[in-house]
Symmetry: C2
Subunit: 348 residues, 2 copies
């Protein structure tokens, strides 16, 4: 037969107990390190080995009220930044013996709400979530969820949730300062959908930073945080004659930046000579493009890892007050913003 056809049904504590000549209580105690004499312990372990016994997850979950599972939810796993984050969550969970359940939702609020609601089926001990949109109704649902939730992202102060944050507005400022420092004077901000929190924060960061440095700027909003969105946004700018002055694009994430690079190059702009481009996120692909993409790392993997740690901490001690961990953005300079002189001479 193909597989999954266990000829012998899986052994339970009962068979182990019988074989070891003890009671099931003793078996359980030995397996959980709660005492037992030398000899019985040895006999039990022998029986376990001989039978190939492993505790059943369902039985244990039912009794303990713990599944050893953590759910992870994001809007778009096709964006490598979230794959990265997921890797971080997994790494943070590794020592705990917990498994990772991936719940990719759409960004429709109702999908998110139904995901949160489904948690009270008790299939996971907690949730790590990083949604693009966070209306009050969602935050309220997360607060009231039947299991602890860690939010990767910013939220209003009154929301009592553990969270891992980064200052993406400051990240935008880092990128803008870099563009200005490399001689750019007219920056177009290519943002993602205005309904999303990241877009809102980055827009605020851009507005403040441009005001501070006092350079010319323009803003366009893409339909989604994707390369397609970036291409279309550039096309729109172009058709409206808004690209002629601009010598730099600050994109709200790497995918948008990649789309812009592609579209701009297709219409004759050379990067970085004619047009500097920066992204945000530092996805693993960023260094692989030509030119490689200057970007701002928001520590996606690390945020995932920290989120897992916060969650484990809360599971261990539910009485804890809400905690927030912060990650500082970091500018990663690559080729897409190099000045012409730098390209030729290594500096002017």
């Amino acid at each position: 037969m193909p597989s999954g056809a266990a000829l012998t049904p899986r052994p339970t504590v009962h068979q182990v107990a019988e074989r070891a000549g003890v009671s099931i209580a003793t078996v359980s105690r030995v397996l959980n390190g709660k005492g037992g004499s030398r000899t019985t312990e040895e006999r039990v372990r022998d029986a376990v080995r001989a039978l190939g016994y492993r505790p059943d997850a369902a039985g244990r979950a039912l009794k303990l009220g713990r599944t050893l599972q953590v759910a992870f939810a994001v809007d778009d796993l096709a964006n490598p930044v979230y794959t990265d984050m997921m890797g971080g969550v997994e790494a943070g969970l590794a020592d705990s013996g917990s498994r990772l359940l991936v719940a990719s939702t759409g960004h429709a609020v109702e999908d998110l709400l139904s995901l949160v609601a489904s948690l009270d089926r008790g299939y996971a001990d907690g949730l790590v979530i990083s949604p693009l949109v966070r209306p009050p109704v969602l935050l309220a649902a997360l607060e009231a969820a039947s299991v602890p939730v860690v939010l990767v992202g910013n939220m209003p102060d009154h929301v009592r949730l553990d969270s891992v944050r980064t200052d993406s507005a400051a990240g935008v400022a880092l990128a803008l300062d870099h563009l200005v420092a490399t001689g750019r004077r007219h920056v177009v901000f290519v943002n993602g959908p205005g309904s999303t929190v990241p877009a809102q924060m980055r827009a605020a960061g851009f507005a403040q930073a441009t005001r501070r440095v006092g350079i010319a700027s323009d803003t366009v909003t893409a339909d989604s945080f994707t390369a397609d969105g970036g291409e279309q946004a550039w096309a729109r700018l172009l058709s409206e004659g808004r690209t002629t002055q601009c010598d730099a694009v600050l994109a709200a994430n790497d995918l948008l930046a990649i789309g812009v690079m592609r579209a701009a190059r297709a219409t004759g702009r050379r990067i970085p000579d004619d047009l500097a481009v920066t992204g945000i996120d530092d996805i693993p692909f960023a260094p692989l493009f030509s030119p490689s993409l200057t970007t701002v790392s928001l520590g996606a993997r690390e945020r995932g890892r920290l989120a897992a740690e916060l969650l484990l901490g809360r599971l261990a001690d539910p009485g804890l007050p809400p905690r927030t961990v912060r990650i500082a953005p970091e500018l990663i300079v690559r080729e897409s913003t190099q000045r012409h002189e730098e390209l030729l001479t290594g500096g002017s």
Copy 2:
């Protein structure tokens, strides 16, 4: 308190039964559509709604022996082709109400074996796996696993496992024929680690195809199926003077191709004019590079979807004989293999 602190413990069938004035058996029957009179059914549903009752996953799993969870294991989730495949698995599972458990292993055989062994804790109803290496000991373990396994990939005929296959050797031939058709005459095959099944199959495909078309060829083996691997492979070729003749690279996957493009360009080759490059996999990023990457789609997402379907089918009917589903590779022509004339005139 932060969250996960249910003030009222979650309702069980008992509270529903009490509220509806019926027995727990009736509640269960109504919820599972196994009869009940009009009026009682209505009363039960009202109680369910009023209490916000949802069946507990652990209790149900323990009783039914079904977890409604499927595990998905791959070597490297950082490769978008596997993210893609995962999306397919998830899509294939969607209607079944099953959740997706992601078990990212290393490619160490022992890791894979311990993953398979862990399945008999009963935390998943089945496994979809696409390992790069498949030694007999692993295949034997998969056959003997405590839950059904679907392998995404090729395996010896005697292995009694459901599988979703694609003919990657034929895929290599498609790419090579295309390179030859566009005028290339000296192709270097950049392969992944020889210990992996994909590398073996693609090497065989390349050997056969080059023999058939009778052109000059060379082969180099990268340390891993990554962009870094591709860069290093090109560097090695270059240092050994093996790049001078070659006018095309056929890379065993897209990441290798991207690495080669990057390294080759850094050393003065123009793509596609001086050097044509093809990949395999058609990752979502392939069209975004400049030049966009010609590649061979192996239908990763579709394979994932089909794997999920095979698994669901077997869960529904364990007596089925092993089944194999095949996906044909498809050449995706983009800019990285365009001929000089095509670039200028659109054809010669």
